[in-house]
């Protein structure tokens, strides 16, 4: 019992540190990749190749003055960034990072907590992120924030339906909700669920991008549209938490996507202890795709966005479910 607690605590600490560092360097990666795609170089001044840029940003953010406007609702104003940031971290608790391996004589499982309803847990927890955004928009006491918060949360809940339905096809085929068993079933590249559920994967990807408020679905936070949207009235560390929460959400969605569709940590040549490298490589490719998408396409107008979510993605996800169900039955 004690051994399990200690092992889990160590895993939790390692994962949280890795995720936060990943978020910080995701900002660096985004700036560099978008810059190269725009024919320029990104940050190159802070440290060699600009590698210390996230640290410089963090220090700047920590030293900024925390301006709290007069008309805010204090409690929810302070609570909202936390609510936007913590659910993305929670969903890392069930993601299988690597194969089971043995370390100094003990067996270590590659997942922090192997819930038998892992997938349901992930989707339930990411839905909580909407609370953070709408509370932030409302409690800021300004029209722009309220509009931005309402738009953003409406977008997120509309796309959550297709988000959930898109993976039900995978669950029907796999017959399990546990993330670890989903990965175990995808042991070779031919068994990856992306071949069996291509439409499901495309739907998942699109809805994930809409959930994380990224281009081309990022109207609620586009600076030219609504000043800053729901995080206009936040400064310094509170804004930092929204920002990191967005990147943590991106990484969480990438991790869940690789687990469900790309075979998690499976990959040739590497021993069981190092299979986390394949996992990280796949997540990295996912993130690169996110950033590549951002650099390439313009953003949806809000009515186009809602139209797309309800009239295109929802019927398609139901269709996917229908066809998968029929095939599984027969």
């Amino acid at each position: 019992m004690l051994e399990m607690i200690i092992a889990s605590s160590i895993k939790v600490v390692v994962v949280i540190v890795a995720v936060l560092t990943g978020c910080a360097y995701a900002t660096y990666m985004e700036r560099k990749v978008v810059a190269f795609m725009q024919h320029r170089i990104g940050p190159s001044y802070a440290g060699p190749y600009g590698l210390l840029q996230p640290i410089a940003d963090a220090i700047k953010m920590a030293f900024k003055e925390d301006v709290v406007p007069d008309r805010v609702e204090r409690i929810t104003y302070a609570l909202a960034p936390i609510l936007a940031f913590v659910p993305s971290l929670l969903s890392f608790a069930v993601v299988p990072f690597s194969a089971d391996f043995s370390l100094i004589g003990r067996q270590v499982t590659g997942v922090i907590s192997d819930l038998n309803i892992g997938v349901l847990f992930v989707f339930a927890v990411t839905s909580l992120g909407v609370y953070g955004i709408i509370l932030a928009g409302w409690s800021s006491g300004s029209k722009y924030s309220l509009m931005g918060g309402i738009r953003s949360s409406a977008q997120m809940i509309s796309y959550e339906i297709s988000y959930g339905l898109s993976i039900v096809g995978v669950i029907l085929i796999a017959n399990t909700l546990s993330m670890r068993q989903l990965v175990d079933q995808q042991d070779t590249i031919l068994h990856w669920y992306i071949w069996k559920q291509p439409l499901g994967f495309l739907l998942y990807l699109t809805c994930a991008i809409a959930e994380t408020n990224r281009l081309p679905f990022d109207l609620p936070e586009a600076e030219s549209e609504l000043v800053g949207g729901y995080h206009t009235e936040y400064s310094s560390f509170r804004f930092g938490m929204f920002f990191i929460g967005e990147y943590a959400n991106m990484i969480a969605v990438s991790c869940v996507g690789t687990t469900l569709f790309f075979g998690g940590w499976h990959g040739p040549f590497l021993p069981a202890g190092l299979s986390v490298i394949w996992f990280l490589a796949k997540v990295f490719l996912f993130m690169f795709f996110y950033i590549w998408l951002r650099a390439t396409f313009p953003r949806f107008r809000y009515d186009q966005l809602m139209n797309f979510g309800w009239k295109v993605l929802f019927p398609l996800s139901v269709l996917n479910l229908l066809v998968t169900g029929l095939i599984v039955l027969w």
Partner: protein, 168 residues
């Protein structure tokens, strides 16, 4: 039905084309110049900071006539003339306020002695307003013979090789 077909073509053909365009640019050389390590050379007619020229024998060209101050649209030049030991008229005080100056080049065009020029330098930021009032000594070009840093070395080399000194 036609919309479905068009949507499919968009997703599977047009969107990847868009992606390829951005990806192509990753492999091209970026156009960014690594300032301050690399600087872009300015054109020969660039109007940067001011220089007060000298004649070949080292005496200053400026006779403090006041035409540049009169021509200056921003009223940035201030001067006071004096009579030197040789009986010539030179400037006792010649100051340009670089914060007022708009770097238009009218003083360069107005000068009858071809004394003042605007050169290529544009990097003279500072933290204090007072340091932007430049005096005559800050803007004079170095004396061709007296302030030449290589002069001592050249003279030593000439002595070593027995070459007679150049005429003064």
């Amino acid at each position: 039905m036609r919309e479905v077909l068009r949507a499919l073509i968009n997703v599977f053909f047009k969107m990847p084309q868009g992606f390829m365009v951005t990806l192509k640019h990753v492999f091209k050389k970026p156009v960014t110049l690594d300032y301050p390590r690399q600087k872009k050379p300015m054109s020969p007619r660039y109007r940067g900071r001011h220089y007060l020229e000298r004649y070949d024998d080292g005496s200053e060209r400026c006779v403090c006539c006041g035409l540049c101050a009169a021509a200056c649209p921003a009223d940035a030049i201030y001067m006071e003339p004096e009579e030197t030991a040789n009986g010539e008229r030179k400037a006792k005080v010649y100051e340009i306020n670089l914060l007022r100056c708009i770097f238009c080049g009218f003083c360069e065009e107005a000068c009858p002695e071809e004394a003042i020029f605007l050169g290529q330098d544009y990097e003279f930021s500072d933290f204090d307003r007072n340091s932007f009032i430049w005096r005559k000594e800050d803007m004079l070009v170095p004396h061709p013979r007296k302030e030449n840093p290589l002069k001592r070395i050249i003279r030593r080399v000439r002595r070593v090789y027995g070459v007679p000194d150049a005429a003064r």
